[in-house]
Amino acid sequence: MLTFIARRLLQSLLVMLAVGLIAFSMFRYVGDPVANMVGQDTTPEQRIELRQRLGLDDPFIVQFGRFVADAARGDFGISYRHRRPVSELLAERLPATLELSFVSAVMALALGIPMGVYTALRRRGLLSRAFMTVSLIGISLPTFLIGILLILVFGVQLRWLPSFGRGEVVELGWWTTGLLTRSGLSALILPAITLALFQMTLIMRLVRSEMLEVLRADFIKFARARGLPERLINFRHALKNTMVPVITITGLQLGSIIAFAIITETVFQWPGMGLLFLQAISMVDIPVMAAYLVLIAFFFVVINLVVDLLYFVVDPRLRVQSA
């Protein structure tokens, strides 16, 4: 077990290195960072001098080597735009993104699994069909549009919820949370729903199809024949067996929510890493872009590791195999 984890972590280093290399090789094509760092009255000489100071004219391998060497020491450089250390910036924005991602993942699971089970058990019911149709809408509308729609309805017309921002946050050491204040919670609702809608639909349909499959299995027939109560059969035996693909999908989706909550963060002006990344792209803030991509690669690897470990927990057959 321990060697398994150690091997995975080593793989993660390789993944991060590869992502960093690809990202760096593309940075020369995103535009000129110096143009965004100085005003229109700066002379050409001063601009050239700035380029040299930042090492932007060095060959790509040298720049990349420098980046890796610094990153190994935990120094991700200084943001061109903010003129502050990148690690500080990311640490500031991380709680916002993680909170939003986790809340929306929990929302998607909490709504998706019961809905999936219900639509599997009562396949032809009216409510079932309603769920399925509405879920199609959730999948086909782009996140951007859903976000704007929600703002329009709940923020502008009804004025029930704030249309942007994170509300008041409480600092707990290095972490900032919006879950402990009223404005923080109300600001979390719309972005979380926007982000959760696609996920929820996916989970619901996955659970439904897996359940339908499992309910046809022999052991379910035998359990019924034996006289076990329906509730026990459905939730203890059937549902548990559908969990492996659901965990896989949820894990991958969680990674992509954290990485690509960019659109939702932009629409709701949510001060997370995604918004930071988008601004970094338009400002050609290379240190931030590089650090963000490497960090996201790391997240993906960790999440996949956790997912693989969860398999052992959920599926007893795997436990027997490895022992």
Binding site: A35, P44, G165
Partner: protein, 534 residues
């Protein structure tokens, strides 16, 4: 379980206190909430020479001489100034001015600020370099020596903000925030200015809270006790925040939302012409255009072709159809609110497509030619749409345009001097930082000279020695009447030679809650001194 109980109580108490505090304060304090599409890059007044950042800082820091709501020069930290010799300016400083931390403003601070603007991390070196020496005559008088005669120094220093020497030394920020090797300059996140508002909270890119300076030296109409600024990048969200009442003022508002703001209750759009001239430039320098099907010669070197380009475009139609009438069609690179403008050279050209076709045939292009036009798509108001309209109008007279529109980082990364001016035709917008026409001549029409940085934004390489000579004379002419006459002469030459295709002054576009009075300054800066809440 236990962890959440542990933090719940003090956190809830904090939240409760916050809510009560806010409720109590709201009863008496007036709060002004506003949003822009980005944030001020830094609180350090010498970090970046960018209109929004400097305009934002102008509410916290102040220069010697500033602008009022109509961009007229008014005394700020200098009560009076005179120009006894061509290279000497004497400023009499205002007495009794205090920085936010209580220390006095005097000549030492002026000298310190000037020196700080010349440190490596500063982007205001160009301004600092306008003086070769700054001498203290007494605590409230400074003498500024300029390397060459400079008739408009006070105007040029309207963006050079005065910092407190003692505060900067105490917090180790005697040098401007450096983008390399500076782990955290104090002035980047903290301020100590003389302005009407002081910073009480700063979260970059999230929220900045300002509080009224109770010891401000001036009498201003502003009555907001607290100002909360939040950047909102997404334009739809920004407009929604205004209509829902969460924001009092947002800028900029997309052109298509003006009608929506007119229709919605409680908000109104504010659109006025900005001091930014938008124009199309042509490569007149190379012997063969980089991106054209004409080989062996450069059509834009022929004034007849340039005249055809100018006459083909109907700036009024562009204004009506694309800018909804809010732009101001212009015939020069100088906007009407800039010092030195005159209708004789600034009035829009009259379109004449027939004559344009004739001229092209005369110049040897009876079937026109093809050329690629570079355009940004997220820098100026409706930039891509305007470029498309220009392309269509040019197409009608035979000049086929291949439009290349891209995001501003890539666009400027291609057309600017550092990239070798890799373009044949481009769009550019220009607001002279000194709000004076000389800046336009120096940057846009002067023959390119890498050593003196002349014509740095003259991306097409327009060059006329007579205009250059006039530019030099204008730079040192202290008699205002003679100076204005020379400016007129220079721009008439540019106009008659059709050096550029000027389009219009783009409109500023703000959205404001009804009942709030603000002044929309022509350089698109929100001066909080003029914000009056009901």
């Amino acid at each position: 379980m236990r962890f959440s109980n542990m933090v719940k109580r003090p956190a809830l108490a904090a939240a409760l206190a916050l809510a009560l505090g806010a409720a109590g304060a709201a009863a008496q304090a007036k709060t002004f909430r506003w949003a822009y599409q980005g944030d001020a890059t830094s609180l350090d007044p010498m970090a970046l020479n960018e209109t929004f950042t400097l305009g934002f800082q102008g509410n916290i820091y102040e220069p010697l001489v500033g602008y009022d709501e109509n961009l007229n020069l008014v005394p700020m930290l200098a009560e009076s100034w005179e120009n006894p010799e061509p290279t000497k300016w004497v400023f009499k400083l205002r007495k009794g001015v205090k920085f936010h931390d209580g220390s006095d403003f005097n000549a030492d601070d002026v000298i310190f600020s000037w020196k700080r603007s010349l440190t490596p991390g500063s982007d205001m070196k160009g301004y600092g370099a306008k003086a070769s020496e700054v001498r203290k005559i007494d605590d409230y008088t400074v003498e500024v020596i300029t390397p060459t005669p400079n008739p408009i120094l006070p105007r040029e220093w309207s963006l050079l903000y005065m910092m407190d020497k003692e505060w900067s030394e105490k917090h180790n920020t005697t040098e401007a925030t450096n983008v390399k090797g500076d782990q955290g300059n104090y002035a980047n996140l903290h301020t100590n200015g003389t302005g009407p508002y002081m910073v009480v909270e700063r979260q970059p890119d999230v929220r900045t809270v300002l509080k009224r300076n109770p010891h401000y030296w001036g009498k201003i109409p502003a009555n907001a006790d607290e100002v909360i600024f939040q950047p909102i990048t997404q334009e739809a969200t920004r407009v929604a925040a205004l209509i829902s009442g969460e924001m009092d003022l947002v800028m900029p508002v997309p052109v298509q939302d003006w009608q929506r703001l007119e229709d919605a209750k409680g908000v109104r759009p504010l659109t006025d012409a900005e001091a930014r001239a938008i124009f199309i430039g042509m490569d007149q320098h190379r012997d063969e255009l980089l991106y054209s099907d004409v080989k062996g010669k450069n059509p834009f070197k022929d004034p007849r072709v340039r005249e055809a380009v100018v006459l083909a475009v109907d700036t009024n139609a562009i204004n009506q159809k694309i800018m909804r009438g809010a732009a101001k069609p212009l015939g020069s690179l100088v906007a009407t609110s800039v010092n030195g403008y005159d209708d004789s050279f600034g009035a829009p050209y009259k379109p004449d497509p027939e004559r344009a076709r004739k001229l092209l045939a005369e110049a040897g292009y009876p079937n026109g030619f093809t050329v690629t036009m570079d355009c940004p798509n997220d820098r100026y108001v409706n930039d891509e749409k305007v470029c498309q309209a220009v392309a269509a109008m040019l197409g009608r007279v035979g000049i086929k345009i291949d439009l290349l529109a891209q995001t501003k980082s890539k666009y400027f990364g291609k057309i600017l001097l550092q990239a070798g001016n890799d373009t044949s035709m481009y769009m550019l917008g220009w607001t002279p930082s000194s709000i004076d026409a000389h800046n336009v001549l120096l940057n846009l029409t002067a023959c390119r000279d890498a050593k003196t940085a002349a014509g740095q934004f003259n991306l097409g390489g327009y060059c006329n020695p007579k205009v250059d000579e006039l530019t030099k004379q204008i730079g040192s002419e202290t008699d205002q009447a003679k100076r204005s006459a020379m400016i007129k002469e220079a721009f008439m030459i540019v106009r008659n030679e059709f050096g550029y295709l000027p389009l219009h002054q783009q409109p500023m576009s703000w959205g404001v809650k009804e009942g709030i009075q603000v002044k929309q300054r022509a350089d698109d800066v929100l001066d909080l001194r003029y914000v009056v809440l009901p």
